[in-house]
């Protein structure tokens, strides 16, 4: 067993054993579901909106080259510097070069999963730069030196008491455990950081090919400040973020808010089309946009699963996933967790190392039902399983299924198998859930149903 899968199983066992945390996460996500359903209900037709969103992203992704060329031409025409990075290392090098050239000391960041993907903070800190995450949830997990728990709600696994203790320890300032007080501590700490920061770093939610804009969605205003105050702005974004038209946002912005957080609209949806322009009061003198491939083109080459590039990172599939709800975000060990993470990680980081994520699913389909852009998520998990088994089958598993096929296709063998099962029942019962029990994976926590002497087919035959 690879270390990836054994680590996953170890963490999953630990997390599913934490009943308090499981209940805490479940309550939070139930709350999300209630508000999401209310907002979905306000749409005249959520289903038509989903279909249109899916078709729009289909159009964008299936003409990605022309859309990217248009986006970049428009961005460059207004003074934005566009960089292309084939992989994480190139992206880090590009960003390091910019901050070094600018003789920057401190970098303020708003939330960007792409920066987690390329492990940017680590690379910057290693070179002596100060990096501050400004999104409250990201700030909290940064203080704890851990990865975000959830792509939209990074600190949802922590209680207010834990955050109070963290602030007390790291900031020496935590008047109480009230979310209001704690948020205000972060606000105070951050204010001067914005003003002092040399570089503002952001991600991007949508890139508009038609007008050359990058749209950023946020609730707190931290991305707005990040894009307003520092002299240099850097935006790192996956190449798949394109939308064809400016007006497409009229549909995508409320859908992202509804699917992602159960809000009618996120508080700030801001479209940037350049650095500070002539006649404007403020804004960065320079804007660098880094377009990241990092094996997205490999996903693009898989026509069957190409639609997973439509993902708008709303997190809806995580929120409804019973696996995610019970094992939590850190168990996956990936940048993108939950169903979409289980679909794309094998493409981004290697099928054999990450195929276990596709196996760790009951294929219930709640994710596919929740996805606002109709990614066929749970069927892609099946396809990953097929691809993994085809390219590197497990000897024993394949043998087992071959034998099962022989038994299933021959009524006499099938009858015999049932009889053996019935006869060995008392023995199985005696060794139940012990190390000797071949069905231990089942019987450790569950009883097996008693097998009746007469099977259905026995009954059918006797009846005739």
């Amino acid at each position: 067993m690879s270390t990836f899968v054994s680590d996953f199983k170890e963490r999953a066992a630990e997390k599913t054993g934490d009943l308090r945390l499981r209940q805490f996460i479940r309550t939070a996500l139930r709350g999300y579901e209630v508000s999401r359903d209310k907002r979905k209900g306000a749409f005249q037709s959520w289903e038509s909106a989903r279909q249109a969103a899916a078709e729009t992203k289909w159009e964008a992704i299936n003409h990605l080259d022309t859309h990217l060329e248009s986006l970049v031409a428009k961005l460059e025409a207004r003074g934005t510097k566009v960089h292309w990075a084939s992989n994480a290392q190139q992206a880090r090098e590009i960003i390091l070069k910019i901050v070094t050239d600018k003789k920057a000391r401190s970098i303020i960041k708003s939330k960007a999963m792409t920066s987690e993907e390329i492990h940017l903070n680590h690379a910057l800190e290693e070179k002596g730069f100060t990096v501050i995450e400004s999104d409250l949830g990201e700030f909290i997990v940064q203080l704890r030196h851990e990865a975000p728990y959830h792509i939209v709600f990074p600190s949802m696994h922590l209680t207010r008491d834990e955050i109070r203790d963290l602030f007390q320890k790291e900031l020496g300032d935590a008047p109480s455990n009230s979310p209001e007080d704690l948020t205000m501590v972060a606000r105070r700490v951050m204010r001067q950081k914005y003003i002092q920061a040399d570089i503002g770093f952001t991600g991007g939610n949508f890139a508009i090919a038609e007008t050359g804009m990058i749209s950023i969605t946020e609730n707190e205003g931290n991305a707005r400040l990040t894009a307003a105050l520092p002299k240099t702005m850097i935006t790192l974004m996956g190449i798949e973020k394109v939308l064809p038209r400016f007006s497409d946002l009229a549909l995508f912005l409320p859908m992202l808010a509804t699917a992602g957080a159960g809000q009618p609209m996120t508080c700030y949806n801001t479209m940037y089309s350049g650095p500070r322009q002539a006649g404007e009061a403020d804004g960065p003198e320079e804007w660098h946009v880094v377009l990241l491939d990092n094996r997205r083109t490999e996903l693009l080459a898989d026509a069957e699963q190409r639609d997973s590039l439509s993902c708008i990172r709303c997190g809806a599939c995580l929120n409804v996933c019973p696996i995610f709800r019970n094992v939590g975000g850190h168990t996956y060990g990936t940048t993108y967790s939950g169903p979409v993470g289980s679909v794309i990680t094998p493409h981004l980081r290697g099928l054999q190392d990450w195929k276990h994520l596709s196996n760790a699913s009951s294929l219930c389909g709640a994710c596919t039902e929740a996805c606002p852009v109709k990614i066929d998520l749970h069927h892609h998990l099946l396809q990953n399983r097929r691809n993994a088994s085809a390219s590197q089958p497990s000897f024993f598993e394949r043998l087992a299924y071959k034998l099962f096929g022989i038994v299933a296709n021959e009524p006499r063998f099938w009858w015999l198998a049932k009889k053996i099962g019935w006869l060995t029942q008392p023995l199985q019962h005696a060794i139940k859930s012990s190390a000797l029990d071949p069905a231990k994976a089942w019987t450790k926590t569950r009883d097996l149903p008693p097998q009746p002497r007469e099977s259905f087919k026995d009954w059918w035959r006797n009846r005739k």
């Binding site: 019973p322 219930c364 709640a366 299924y401 569950r446 009954w459």
Partner: protein
């Protein structure tokens, strides 16, 4: 009508009462039931594990044998989804493709067959108990089965249906239950928690496989809730 009844492997071996009830219900409605003995399994275990060649070995004889049947009825949303939906993918581009398509069109999940094909909801059943209904995910999301079981249960004398607060997977998931037992068990605990909250005596479902998992947990945890297949409820007089 001649109904070809497809009995899933675990119903045959472990839950014969569910299969017998389906035969009796269908016969009482005046249909001729046949049940090909040489069919044991739909091939879903190897299919879901990614072993499509092995799945085809099991499924190809079924497609050959059943594609000409008048109707095929199957007492499981999960095996139903396998035949109606996933056979199309499994056999795409093979010589069985057209047969798989025809079989898909002729195959009905048990509750859907009664309600949508036959237009029957009242089977004269009597089951004076408080129950909750578990939707198997394959039935619910691959085949959109939601209303038919409820239409049938609505006509059962004495039965009170109390819905659970969320449509959530029970955690069975086939080989998933054995490959990731800790996750599967955690999901099952959530499910039985929801079921217990309803105050029901029985969890009813159209999928014996989900019930096997749920009952296994209930029994291990010493919970008094019982599980029963929809067909058995409909066959109670």
């Amino acid at each position: 009508m001649t109904v070809t009844l497809f009995i899933p492997c675990f119903v045959d071996a472990l839950f014969p009462r569910a299969g017998i009830s389906m035969v009796e219900v269908l016969e009482r409605l005046g249909h001729k039931v046949i049940c090909p003995e040489e069919i044991a399994c739909c091939g879903q275990p190897p299919f879901n594990s990614g072993y499509w060649d092995e799945a085809r070995t099991i499924a190809a004889p079924i497609v050959e044998k059943l594609h000409d049947a008048e109707v095929v009825v199957i007492g499981s949303g999960s095996c139903g989804a396998m035949i109606k939906k996933f056979y199309l993918e499994l056999f795409a581009g093979t010589r069985h493709e057209a047969m798989a398509k025809q079989l898909s069109e002729r195959t009905w999940e048990f509750s859907e067959f009664l309600v949508r094909k036959l237009g029957v909801t009242d089977l004269g059943a009597k089951f004076p108990h408080k129950i909750t209904y578990h939707d198997g995910c394959h039935g619910l999301r691959e085949l959109n089965i939601k209303l038919s079981p409820r239409a049938l249960l609505g006509k059962v004398a004495g039965l009170e249906l109390v819905e659970m607060k969320e449509d959530v997977c029970c955690g069975f998931g086939g080989t998933f239950a054995a490959k990731f037992p800790m996750i599967s068990t955690a999901m099952g605990e959530v499910k039985i928690g929801n079921a217990v909250e309803t105050g029901a005596e029985y969890i009813v479902s159209g999928d014996s496989s989900c019930l096997m998992h749920i009952q296994g947990l209930l029994s291990r945890q010493g919970k008094p809730l019982k599980t029963i297949h929809l067909a058995e409820v409909l066959n109670q007089r």
